[in-house]
């Protein structure tokens, strides 16, 4: 038996012994998502247990090196872990911008000191991070950001306003893009700073969305003092890191297209919703929508697999994260549009236990943001056209 086969068996056994039963049913609502942090809001004791057990093995960040608390797994091993988790429908133990976004950038660009300070608490789910990128006047044109960090010798003083900071009101630390130099090209003179949300002058204010929820905040920064040791990489060279980090954000958001919604295929969902007539979905026009979606979703999932296999083999065009983000988010929007049509009158319910407090309507509205956040679909198409196709 090969090492990988052994690893699979051991992993299966460990998961079987350690994944609590309630963590093997699909998430029913947002509160079933575990975010950790200084003030964790566990939905139940088992959610906490599941996060802690996985964190102890470093499997909340399976491929990070063990010296930073990670699982130290190879790509193949990490894939096996994902597969075995999917097999028992295990929930993700910890959702974290620290794992999905900041971590990879810190590992690539950060000093050893910063890595040792920040990575282990991320793996353990002790510190929850938020992203300070967009500003009221720097959305798609992110490099036009104006939040200013003034050099005071051993520290910076930061002034400005961030917007669309996900869960800033619940986060413990922020990774934040600031302008450290206003001369020259706008991409130059940007730095990536890390600071505690408890620092005086940091004020997050939730933004209510069309879905009724408030996952994002405006964050006001008034004379915020940040130690110079908390700059990731070189001062004034943060744009490269920002772009790298955005690649990870795109991959994360693009992945929404195929996962969640209870591991149920849209075909099954449709069958339960409108029924069959002589073996075919009773509503013929909606059946077409469902088929087209299922075909595209199947092909998209294979593409994510192929891109990852090519990367592993050192092939491929790179920069495909823009394509995955673009296609995955548009796919997710189509999925929810179709689900709304399939549910008819039931879909428009906003409150009440029957509709799980309007879960479908709210989720549907939330998906509209998928093709805006992390760079709009149009920005992704610009990236593909310019960087991959060479259209000037």
């Amino acid at each position: 038996m090969t090492d990988l086969q052994n690893f699979r068996i051991e992993t299966r056994e460990w998961l079987s012994d350690n994944c609590p039963p309630s963590m093997r049913i699909p998430a029913q609502s947002d509160k079933d998502t575990c975010w950790g942090g200084r003030n964790p809001n566990f939905s139940c004791e088992e959610q906490k247990l599941w996060m802690q057990r996985m964190a102890a093995k470093g499997w909340t960040a399976p491929m990070w090196a063990t010296e930073y608390g990670g699982g130290g797994l190879s790509r193949e091993e990490a894939k096996i872990l994902r597969e075995e988790m999917a097999k028992i429908k295990a929930r993700r133990p910890l959702n974290s911008f620290g794992i999905d976004m900041l971590g990879p950038a810190l590992i690539k660009f950060g000093s050893e000191e910063l890595k040792m300070q920040h990575l282990p608490p991320i793996v353990r789910g002790e510190i929850r991070w938020c992203q300070g990128y967009s500003e009221p006047n720097a959305g798609s044109d992110l490099a036009g950001l104006q939040t200013k960090a003034t050099d005071m010798g051993d520290h910076f003083v930061v002034n400005g306003q961030k917007v669309w900071t996900s869960y800033a009101d619940k986060a413990d630390w922020m990774f934040c893009l600031v302008r450290t130099d206003s001369d020259g090209k706008k991409q130059m003179g940007i730095s990536l700073l890390l600071f505690d949300m408890k620092t005086p002058g940091v004020t997050p204010k939730p933004i209510k969305l069309i879905s009724g929820s408030s996952p994002f905040c405006e964050t006001f920064l008034d004379d915020v003092k940040v130690d110079k040791g908390q700059v990731v990489g070189e001062i004034n060279h943060g744009w490269t890191i920002a772009k790298y980090l955005l690649t990870h954000e795109r991959e994360m958001i693009g992945g929404f297209g195929t996962r969640d919604a209870g591991f149920r295929s849209l075909g099954q969902y449709a069958t339960e919703s409108v029924g069959l007539k002589q073996g075919r979905l009773a509503n013929q026009l909606l059946r077409n929508d469902v088929i087209r979606w299922e075909v595209d979703a199947a092909v998209f999932a294979l593409t994510a697999e192929r891109v990852s296999d090519e990367a592993k083999a050192g092939q491929g065009v790179g920069a495909t994260s823009a394509m995955l983000k673009y296609y995955g988010t548009e796919l997710n929007k189509r999925r929810f549009e179709t689900m709304m049509k399939l549910k008819g009158g039931e879909a428009i319910e906003w409150e009440g236990a029957a509709s799980r407090e309007g879960w479908l309507a709210r989720s549907w509205l939330r998906t509209k943001g998928n093709s805006i956040e992390g760079g709009t679909s149009e920005v992704q198409l610009n990236i593909i056209a310019k960087n991959i196709l060479g259209l000037g």
Binding site: L281, R287, D296, T303, I384, G390
Partner: protein
């Protein structure tokens, strides 16, 4: 298995690309169109010399046993070049049908001949203008002198130039039933056989074949009598996977040519590729082609691995490639503007080949429906 092609397959892909560029340029397609012939014998001979007719033939029957991923690379490059040849009807479908359904004697006799490029076969299946393999009505009545075939077949590719036909017929049960279907190897020179060639939009042809009490020797039954549908389905899955590969080639070449044009053509004092209206459409188009590469490779690998998901994957592949080939050939003409409409520019040839390849053995509506039925809705 990883979704990447190995080094040998990559070499085959590159050699096919070079081969078609040298021996099957667009000027050759124009020449064939004037000549009224479906393909060039010399080109086919060269392909046979490359060993391509033997790729799917197992080694024990004188072949290379190189597999469907390998053959798919050639089909894709052939699609790029719009190269006409009996590769698909004989070396893909013919070989697969005999290999999957034939008995030892049939394999030993026929496979080496196909591998050597000496025997051409055509599959005769559809009986209306739409692909519906359940609806086979052509009857095969067992008599002491052999099976007596009566009926009509439509849309037989390379039908007039093949020495043998693989014919799906009904030996029992009702039309619309999956039971009662049998396959036969029918000599093209059999009496009572009438083959009518019709030129098609892609400068190739299809044949309508009338079977007027054609007598087929008993030993020419291919596969089990009355329960040939499963085997036929597998052959059709293989055929559709390779059509998807060909369509991928067509889509990719349409894209590449258009991308070059966007970087050459100037209007309003700028290259038209600098206009965002075209950039976004092109980027979307590129994304769709990236998706297609994944499903074609996955489907071909699944066939090689004997994966039970092949029927579903083949339908997904064919459906998706139908959609993207249509997108590609339409966008190609639109972005070329007026010259895209002229016969002088080659870009218009791609839509003409894509449509027959889309339609053959089921288009999006057929395969989308088939896939949904397999999934239970």
């Amino acid at each position: 298995m990883a979704l990447i092609i190995n080094e040998e397959q990559q070499m085959l892909r590159e050699s096919a690309q070079g081969f078609f560029a040298e021996f099957a340029p667009m000027s050759e397609l124009r020449r064939l169109r004037e000549d009224d012939s479906d393909y060039c014998d010399l080109l086919w001979k060269r392909m046979v010399d490359m060993g391509w007719a033997a790729i799917l033939v197992p080694e024990k029957y004188g072949g290379l046993g190189f597999g469907h991923v390998g053959m798919g690379q050639i089909m894709e490059q052939s699609g790029r070049a719009l190269a006409a040849s009996p590769l698909f009807s004989s070396a893909v479908i013919g070989v697969s049908a005999i290999n999957l359904l034939g008995d030892e004697r049939q394999k030993e006799t026929l496979l080496p001949q196909i591998a050597a490029g000496q025997l051409m076969l055509s599959l005769a299946i559809d009986e209306s203008r739409h692909h519906e393999p359940n609806d086979i009505a052509l009857s095969a009545l067992k008599t002491p002198e052999g099976y007596r075939l009566s009926g009509k077949k439509y849309g037989v590719i390379d039908g007039h130039s093949s020495a043998k036909l693989i014919v799906a017929a009904r030996t029992q049960a009702e039309v619309g039933d999956k039971e009662g279907i049998s396959l036969f190897l029918v000599d093209a020179k059999s009496s009572g056989l009438e083959i009518l060639r019709t030129p098609t939009v892609d400068s190739r042809s299809v044949s309508i074949i009338n079977f007027n009490e054609v007598i087929v020797p008993l030993e020419n039954l291919l596969g089990p009598e009355g329960s040939g549908f499963a085997g036929l389905s597998s052959v059709l899955d293989i055929a559709n996977a390779h059509l998807a590969a060909e369509l991928l080639g067509i889509a990719t070449e349409s894209f590449d040519r258009t991308l070059r044009y966007l970087k050459e053509r100037k209007q309003f004092g700028s290259l038209i590729g600098s206009f965002q209206a075209l950039q976004h459409r092109t980027a979307h188009w590129w994304s769709e082609i990236e998706l297609c590469k994944s499903i074609v490779l996955k489907c071909l690998s699944a066939i090689d691995e004997g994966d039970s998901r092949v029927p579903g994957l083949a339908s997904i592949a064919k459906a998706k490639l139908c959609e993207v080939a249509e997108l590609s050939t339409n966008e190609a003409i639109q972005m070329h503007g007026g010259v895209g409409m002229t016969d002088e520019y080659d870009i218009g040839f791609f839509i003409k080949r894509a449509r027959p390849a889309q339609m053959l053995y089921g288009d999006y509506s057929y395969h989308g429906d088939r896939f949904a039925m397999m999934t239970g809705y």
